[in-house]
Amino acid sequence: MIRLIVTADDRLYARLTGRVEAEGHTAARASDVLEGLQYATTHAVDMVFVDMSLHAADTLLETLHSRQVTCSIPLFAIQIGRRLPFELRRLCTGVLEAGTL
């Protein structure tokens, strides 16, 4: 099972990869939103983690939710500090606070 992590933050990626691999899954990385969309639409990804500090991360969530090939993939938003707007929270299976990871 591939779990895609969309983040430019190496430490966040390392922490998430550790958790994903401990659960027996494979972690894949995309360093920006376009790479993330490209990967999610061309690979059999079963979960996507999106670092909300990336530019246009909100649009990535909405796009993944809108496209037929990716709309069934559970989305997790990872955020530091600010609260995720309500309409984006609705699109996500879960919202993770980076500080608690």
Binding site: D32, V33, L34, L37, H55, A56, D58, T59, L60, E62, T63, H65, S66, R67, R83, P85, F86, E87
Partner: protein
């Protein structure tokens, strides 16, 4: 009256119109022939019963064309019309057996002759049509009833033909085949109609369940949202208010003993009240949906341009072109956020006096943000500056394309075009 009954009545009318056309053609040919030559033998020696057998066709033909009769007769109209049709055409079939060789020859100007039947055993095909219509409308049971009625009428007609001295031998030879045909085709039609009806019922049931599921999901979402609202109110307003009550009680106690401590406590109360107010405002802001969801893309952009003009003091113009097309939230929100980022760039970097925001719905959707500011030389400026990379990324996520037209002291025009709008 449902569609299938209405269509069956139309087909029946068409059948009688066809019969009338054939009859008119034969009468015309007979008239022409009669004026030129003596009447044909078969016609002169026609059985007197023929006219009686033809009368029901005339009567039924008139009946099916009486305007508004189907509305007055209601659900009995079609079964009666079908039964009369079967009866009429079966009797016409009898005419052919009463008058064997019921034909006449017409000489053409070219010297050739054509042979025309004025009564034909092929009438069985016209009997078949109402039987099949009964199958189509009432299913297998209707088909069985119509076929049995047609067979019974057929046997009675054969009996009548025998009594009147007609051609019974050829009637009996073809009887088994005709009965088989009278049952087989209507039963096939009836079976197909029953299958379609079962599928229709299953589809209705599925639709009903789907509506139920949708209502359940909606109720669940509403319930979940209520729980979230309750938690938010509990964590912000209720928490702050209960803290305030405790602190005010402390102020009350201190007022009688230590005025300095009471004042210090009062300051803490004020601080807590402000903090609580900020939290409540934040919670309300979180609960609000985006302007695009609330107003739609066009009005949300118009509001954005208006607020931008008020905030920045720049003369801001809003232009909407074309007929608005419904967009998926992903694309609409992306366009709105790009406009926000572009206006932010104008305010921070352009040194402009005038800004125009234009939304055009022709060939997809096009957003333009144009200013009359200092512009820049694209060749010398790092393309990653001014957040252009971010704008391009956001646009690419929703299949959009960004163009920037600018030159030093000639303003900047940023265009985002989405050619392919996503369907919901």
């Amino acid at each position: 009256m449902n569609n299938i009954v209405r269509n069956a009545i139309r087909v029946l009318r068409g059948l009688f119109a066809f019969r009338a056309f054939i009859a008119a053609f034969v009468v015309l040919m007979l008239a022409v022939h009669w004026s030129a030559t003596p009447p044909p033998e078969s016609f002169r020696h026609a059985s007197p019963l023929s006219a009686v057998f033809l009368l029901p066709t005339l009567f039924t033909g008139i009946l099916v064309f009486v305007p508004g009769l189907e509305r007055r007769a209601g659900r009995f109209y079609l079964p009666v019309a079908l039964a009369l049709s079967i009866l009429s055409f079966s009797l016409e079939l009898g005419v052919a057996y009463l008058n064997p060789g019921a034909r006449f020859h017409v000489a053409l100007p070219s010297g050739q002759e054509i042979s025309l039947f004025w009564a034909s055993t092929e009438m069985i095909l016209l009997v078949l049509v109402p039987c099949m219509l009964a199958g189509a409308v009432y299913g297998v049971r209707g088909a069985l009833r119509a076929a049995t009625f047609a067979t019974a009428v057929h046997l009675v007609v054969g009996f009548g033909v025998g009594i009147a001295g007609g051609e019974v031998h050829s009637f009996l030879i073809l009887l088994p085949l005709r009965v088989a045909v009278l049952y087989a085709f209507p039963l096939i039609t009836g079976y197909l109609a029953d299958t379609r009806l079962r599928e229709h019922v299953a589809l209705e049931e599925a639709n009903r369940r789907l509506r139920g599921y949708a209502a359940t999901v909606e109720n669940l979402a509403t319930s979940r949202e209520r729980v979230r609202l309750a938690r938010t109110i509990h964590d912000t307003l209720a928490h702050s208010l209960s803290a305030l009550v405790v602190q005010l009680e402390a102020v009350d106690t201190l007022l009688g003993t230590d005025l300095g401590a009471a004042r210090a406590q009062f300051d803490r109360v004020r601080q807590h009240a402000r903090f609580g107010l900020d939290e409540a405002r934040q919670a309300i802001s979180d609960l609000r949906s985006s302007p695009v969801e609330e107003l739609g893309l066009g009005p949300a952009l118009e509001q954005l341009a208006e607020h931008f003009g008020q905030r920045s003091g720049l003369h801001t113009e809003w232009v909407l072109q074309g007929t608005p097309t419904p967009l998926l939230p992903a694309q609409a929100n992306a366009v709105y956020q790009i406009a926000e980022e572009a206006l932010d760039n104008v305010e921070r970097h352009a040194a402009a006096a005038h800004v125009m925001v234009r939304l055009n719905y022709a060939n997809g959707i096009t957003l333009e943000v144009e200013d009359d500011g200092q512009g820049f030389d694209p060749a010398t400026i790092d393309p990653r500056r001014f957040g252009l990379v971010g704008i391009r990324e956001r646009a690419s996520l929703v299949d959009g394309h960004v163009t920037v037209n600018t030159a030093p002291n000639q303003g900047t025009r940023l265009t985002v075009h989405i050619a392919e709008l996503w369907e919901s």
